[in-house]
């Protein structure tokens, strides 16, 4: 192929990707800029830089409570979602069985569904059952969407899992539980870990499902939304920036852990 045309095309695709990445991060940049001013109102260019509002936001007792609620929901969702999704993923990708293709599609349905409508449907449902909305109902609501996502994420790892490993362990006299603990779980761990990371972060950032199902308990995204429509306060950009950095940090740490895990096991049967 002609070298210069090819180089040109590569450069074009790189620059286009750069433009799209910038587009994706302009809002985060704007939030960061708005959070680092000392004045009450946002105006650009910033005249008085400072982190006064960060201090004020972190000292707020209300914000502490919001963090606790969001954290409680996200942790519960992560634990339950990973356990159910691990089995779901084995059924999705490990075993051949009649009805599997149907099952795979059913699992995907909640992902292919508008979340606002799902949130309202769950509100009606809980109400018909006579439940009072609280953070527990929100955990349930998040799970409806996050279990399928988690199943999908873990399934991708399960696809590259070699069933012969389990069979070999059985042949050597291991019990079902031993095989699960000593073979299946360690081999699938990177997938399970990414599944957990997805579950936690998606629950932490979720708004449409929380809005209708948390009742009197308020999560961070709900609080931010209420503040946003009530008028400008610099606390919103501060918390927005904190969420972005927090998620980035968690993702980076998670990614590095997976890389290290894979390195350690490279040379084994299961590199990918």
């Amino acid at each position: 192929m002609d070298g210069s045309g090819d180089r040109m095309r590569r450069a074009l695709i790189w620059s286009w990707t750069g433009v799209v990445v910038i587009f994706m991060y302009l809002p985060a940049l704007s939030l960061f800029l708005a959070s680092s001013t000392s004045s009450r109102y946002f105006g650009f260019p910033i005249t008085k830089w400072g982190f006064v509002w960060w201090q004020k936001t972190f000292d707020s007792l209300e914000v502490h409570q919001l963090f606790r609620t969001s954290l409680a929901i996200a942790l519960c969702v992560t634990v339950i979602a990973v356990v159910i999704a691990l089995f779901g993923a084995l059924a999705f990708a490990r075993y051949e069985w009649k009805g599997r293709s149907m099952y795979q599609k059913l699992v995907l349905l909640p992902i292919f569904f508008p979340q606002t409508v799902l949130g309202l449907a769950l509100l009606l449902y809980f109400n018909a059952l006579g439940f009072t909305m609280s953070w527990q109902t929100a955990v349930f609501a998040h799970l409806v969407w996050i279990i399928p996502v988690c199943t999908l994420v873990i399934s991708i790892q399960v696809y590259s899992f070699d069933p012969a490993l389990e069979e070999a362990a059985f042949d050597l006299g291991a019990t079902r539980w031993q095989v699960f603990r000593e073979v299946t779980l360690p081999v699938l761990f990177p997938g399970i870990f990414s599944g957990a990371l997805f579950a936690f972060l998606l629950s932490w950032g979720n708004f449409p499902l929380s809005l209708y199902t948390t009742g009197a308990d308020t999560t961070l995204p709900e609080y931010l939304y209420a503040k946003m429509i009530a008028g400008y306060t610099p606390g919103v950009p501060v918390l927005g920036t904190v969420s972005t950095f927090g998620a980035a940090l968690l993702m980076l740490v998670g990614y590095l852990m997976i890389v290290i895990l894979r390195r350690r096991r490279s040379g084994g049967a299961n590199v990918n």
């Binding site: 059913l106 309202l120 009606l124 409806v144 279990i147 950032g205 980035a248």
Partner: protein, 285 residues
Amino acid sequence: MDRIAKIFRPGPRHAIPVMVFLLLGFVAPLVTVVLYSFVPSRTFDLWQDWSLANYAEIFNSSSYIPFAWSLGLAVATVLILALVCYPVAFGMTRIFGRYATLVTLLFTLPLFVSENVRIYGWILFFIKNGVLLGSLKSMFGYEPESILFTTGLTLMGMVYVYLPFMLFPMTLGVSMVPQQTRDAAFDLGASRWQVFKEVDLPLAMPGIVIGFLLTFVLAVGAIAEAKVLGGQRIIPITQDIETAFTYAQNWPLGAALSVLLMLVVGTLVLVVLRRFDLDTILGKK
């Protein structure tokens, strides 16, 4: 006995927890919505005289306008995203090499920050004296009108929010095109355009279609973009549904509107998903 033995084979056995949960958490709530849509208007009790009155009310009103806006904006979002994402997806598989992971992480991160917070970032960017207009003013003394609260910006917000949902399935699709097949086509004298049309596009189609479907469905359900960025200039159907459930306190009407939306989305999803073998899309390395 035979039936029971079948259920306890490893495959179905592992599927039980997910299936039970989705039955209780997804199917049952949707059934509740369908039931509620037959209950008399402005009531909250499920067990009373059922009728089609709510549907009659919808068909006699101008509800088709928000429906049309939602569907129209969703179609526009999908088409724009297809053009925006294809070069990136192509780059991810064929050009970025070891940087592909970094690019993937960069596109994943926004998913974890609440959608409304990110949309709010756009407000700070576009608002008068905000990042864009403030910079223009101080650097060039140029003060254009803010484009905030327009339908165009609603569309931009939707393109922004749903971009990763198009990009990732599309990348999966593009990675299913074997490089050898492309090389062979080039060796046989095919032009770039021919390779794109005859090799790249058809072989990447499963991923592309899934990306289309996912972004379309999510975009039909969009609500925050029109409310926050669009300044309520247009009302999408989801906002009508939300209003019925909240301010208007008319759950049966909201339920009937939801059922209609679910019919559109559900039919599309079922028709498209039926044609795919998910193993080849997800499992193939």
